[in-house]
Symmetry: C2
Subunit: 188 residues, 2 copies
């Protein structure tokens, strides 16, 4: 049973996350302060560290929520075309850029956010493996390896597009991945 207090706490958390995601996208992560998030969300400034610890913790929670939205938003039985269009929409969202912001922090020796960042990558691979499980894969193409390769292609295409949106054709690159996958898996 959820008590009234827990419910309110959960609601505050959601309001803070929504405001932070919008502000990070609009102003950038570095330029956004707890005071900005408090003003936008209507939640007192002091509550934010109570919920999320640090600004880094807040950013991680925003990322974890976007991964959850992706995981629940893409139907597991989606075909390749639906997936490709879904990914393209996802990549164009300003919050997706935040994945890159934390990567460098996650790679610092002894980083406090490393394990949660690794868990986000693992959640994406797990989603990919579940999607691939419907298809008979050819011998020589293990599902674990293919999932790393496909999530990798997504990460790397997104980053090239972020760096040079005018030069990198994201739609074309995702279509190329779609082509390669379609050639290897036999659609049920």
């Amino acid at each position: 049973m959820t008590t009234r207090r827990e419910q309110t706490s959960g609601e505050s958390r959601e309001l803070i996350l929504g405001a932070a995601a919008a502000l990070f996208a609009e102003k950038g992560y570095r330029q956004t302060t707890f005071a900005d998030v408090a003003e936008r969300s209507g939640i007192s400034r002091g509550s934010i560290p109570w919920h999320f610890g640090s600004k880094e913790g807040l950013l991680l929670a925003v990322l974890e929520r976007s991964v959850e939205v992706v995981r629940t938003g893409l139907p597991e039985e989606a075909d390749l075309d639906v997936l490709t269009v879904g990914l393209e929409g996802l990549f164009a969202q300003p919050t997706t850029k935040l994945f890159v912001t934390l990567l460098v922090e996650a790679l610092e020796p002894g980083s406090p956010i490393h394990d949660r960042y690794a868990a986000i990558h693992e959640a994406l691979r797990e989603q990919c493996r579940r999607w691939l499980a419907r298809f008979p894969l050819p011998a020589g193409l293990p599902v674990d390896a293919l999932a790393v390769a496909l999530i990798g292609a997504g990460i790397g295409i997104h980053q090239q597009w972020l760096v040079a949106p005018d030069k990198v054709d994201m739609t074309g690159a995702l279509a190329a991945v779609r082509f390669l996958v379609a050639g290897a898996v036999s659609e049920g």
Copy 2:
């Protein structure tokens, strides 16, 4: 004709770059100072900003040199197996991690290093396009799009492995990409 002065300047530059690459890999980029680089290279501390401007400029030059090493080190007529093994060796080099360090900086609005970072991505894609040019590609798989997808897969596999070296099988993931490419292009 190269004058004696230019030659010496070029030699100093190389000594600084070699020392910086080793130190960035050993101590990390943030922990390395110009004084460390001067000591290791035997070049006076004051020469370093003269050659490279800032520490960021030094890091960029280190990255540009590693890309050049990759470009010249991989034979253009290499087959898929040679390429896969070459990439794996490259990814395991400590300097390769430095690509990630600068990505976040390159994505800041108005970043002074953005254009050089974009040029590194473009050089990798160009190398890939040249490699692909030998093969007749199937209709529906344009070489530009495939190059973005393959360089993307390389970037994204490398990053997943950096984040979780014990969980991500880099060799297997590269073999999966190799499998997908071999299925799509007909080796000459």
